[in-house]
């Protein structure tokens, strides 16, 4: 494991600090004590083949791992300097982290209700408060123009790409500090993917993005830094330019980003 260098060392704020994170399902350990930081307003790409523990790592961040009875977690995960496992209001934590799943999962509600879901859960119920939020999030996710005339039709009736953008709008609706995208593009076409990527580039101004992806080129296009996770261990984390330049420290990283394996 390599210590991550700091690209512009002066104003770096650590949004997420993970240290010694171990995760086991039953007796089988899938994360073997990983440590890394995510800086505020960066896009950190997490690459690695299937079964590397990428999704499990995300689930430790927002503590949805709690729902897997067999999972045992040790080490620490801090979000905004606070240990997530010591937080009393786990629901508030989850609202600070937007999560986009690999497959688009529009909830079986109207488009409007989908986006208004999280604000409502946190207690915002007045129509006048909700409407601007819904519009803003749908605009941010580049979906507003396509759905503005049918906000009350079912979210699940949208096409795959639209649903994925709806999921992103929904993930933004609680104004998260961190947005986690878990292989968001595997179910959508390249054109929509590029649109969403543009959205992400704009969002970087406001929030921190963790982008888990199987597409090494996507990581290269978007991210500031890239972390290569393999079999539950961090092989390398460095500036994306370095990882892809052929100067990566680990031979495994060079092979993976060049498509030799994975």
């Amino acid at each position: 494991m390599t210590e991550s260098p700091t690209p512009s060392a002066n104003d770096i704020v650590k949004e997420v600090e993970v240290s010694g994170l171990r995760l086991a399902y039953g007796g089988k350990e899938v994360l073997h004590g990983i440590s890394f930081d995510v800086y505020r307003n960066e896009i950190l790409a997490v690459i690695g083949p299937a079964q590397s523990g990428k999704t499990s790592m995300l689930r430790c961040l927002n503590r949805t791992i709690d729902f897997t009875a067999s999972a045992s977690v040790s080490g620490s995960v801090k979000v905004g300097g606070e240990d997530v496992r010591k937080m009393s209001d786990v629901f508030a934590l989850r609202r600070r982290i937007g999560m986009v799943a690999p497959l688009p999962t529009g909830l079986p509600l109207s488009i409007y209700d989908n986006v208004a879901f999280a604000p409502r859960c946190s207690g915002v119920t007045r129509k006048a408060d909700l409407e601007p939020v819904v519009e803003k999030c749908l605009r941010q996710a580049a979906l507003w123009d396509e759905v503005k005339d049918r906000l009350d039709s079912l979210g699940t009736a949208l096409s795959g790409g639209q649903q994925q953008r709806l999921t992103i709008a929904r993930a933004l609706s609680h104004r998260p500090e961190i947005l986690c995208l878990d292989e968001f593009s595997i179910a959508i076409d390249p054109v929509t993917t590029m649109r969403i990527e543009d959205v992400l580039k704009e969002l970087r101004e406001e929030i921190t993005i963790i982008l888990v992806t199987n597409l090494t080129q996507q990581a290269r296009r978007l991210s500031d830094r890239t972390m290569f996770l393999l079999e539950g261990e961090i092989v390398e984390i460095d500036a994306t330019d370095v990882i892809y330049s052929g100067d990566a420290k680990s031979e495994k990283t060079r092979d993976y980003v060049n498509g030799v394996f994975g």
Binding site: T105, L107, A118, H174
Partner: protein
Amino acid sequence: MSAEPRARTARAVRPRAAVLAEKALEAVIRLSGVSAIVFVAAIFFFVLREAAPVLFSEGFSLKQFLFSTEWYPTSATNVRYGTFALTVGTVSVTALAMVLAVPFGLGAAIFLSEFCSPRVRETLKVVIELLSAIPSVVWGFVGLTVMSKLIVSATGAPVGVNVLNGGIILALMSVPVIVSIGEDALKAVPDSFREAGVALGATRWQLVYRVLLPAAKNGLLAAVLLGVGRAVGETMAVLMATGHAVHIPGSLLDSVRTLTANIAAELGEAPSGSDHYRVLFLTGTLLFLITLVVNLTADFVVRGIRRK
């Protein structure tokens, strides 16, 4: 390679037997599907055939049959066949049963599917299945003896067999149906919905009423409808628990008679082919139509929800 052309021709032919078997299987499946419609139509036809002659007989009026409360099928001087009180009896007992059973049933379904530990769930499911396996006549006993005494001592009513008693017994009989179908409906909601809801910061209860109930509404409605069906159609238990008095109930503590109980109690006494006999069959047709209306209404409601 030399084997290639042979392999190609060999692959192209499917065994004739397999083709035929598939066709036969398809036909069988089609037949079983169509048979459901045939059976319903046949039952309706045969019940209506027994009832039809009375519709055209002298002195019978459909208006009286539907809207009169006077049920005197064996009067020597003035025979009257008014089933309105019986319809009201059925509706009132069913309505009370549903008021009690739907909250408990759906609540139990939600608890089983979302809130309880796997061990508790397995135990409870066994108990609930046992509950639904109790024969209705045994429920009748419970109504007639246990429940009736409880009602008399709790309310001071003169008799313990009444709407309240029948409603409670029917509720106890419907709850297991609602719970098991309702739990299936909730379990059928994809876990991705749960995960999405949770990731958006929903608490357990918010997840239930904002995600699961809307997602499972069709299945839950089906569960409630099956419960209603059970309550409307139940005969023996209500015959024993409701007091069997032809009377429009003024309160929960009045005795009533239901359409089903009336048929069961009187059909044995009515001479085959008599007007009385035929009117009882007509009552059966009426029951059939009531369930049809309930189901159709529910279907329209579901469609309405779906379109939205």
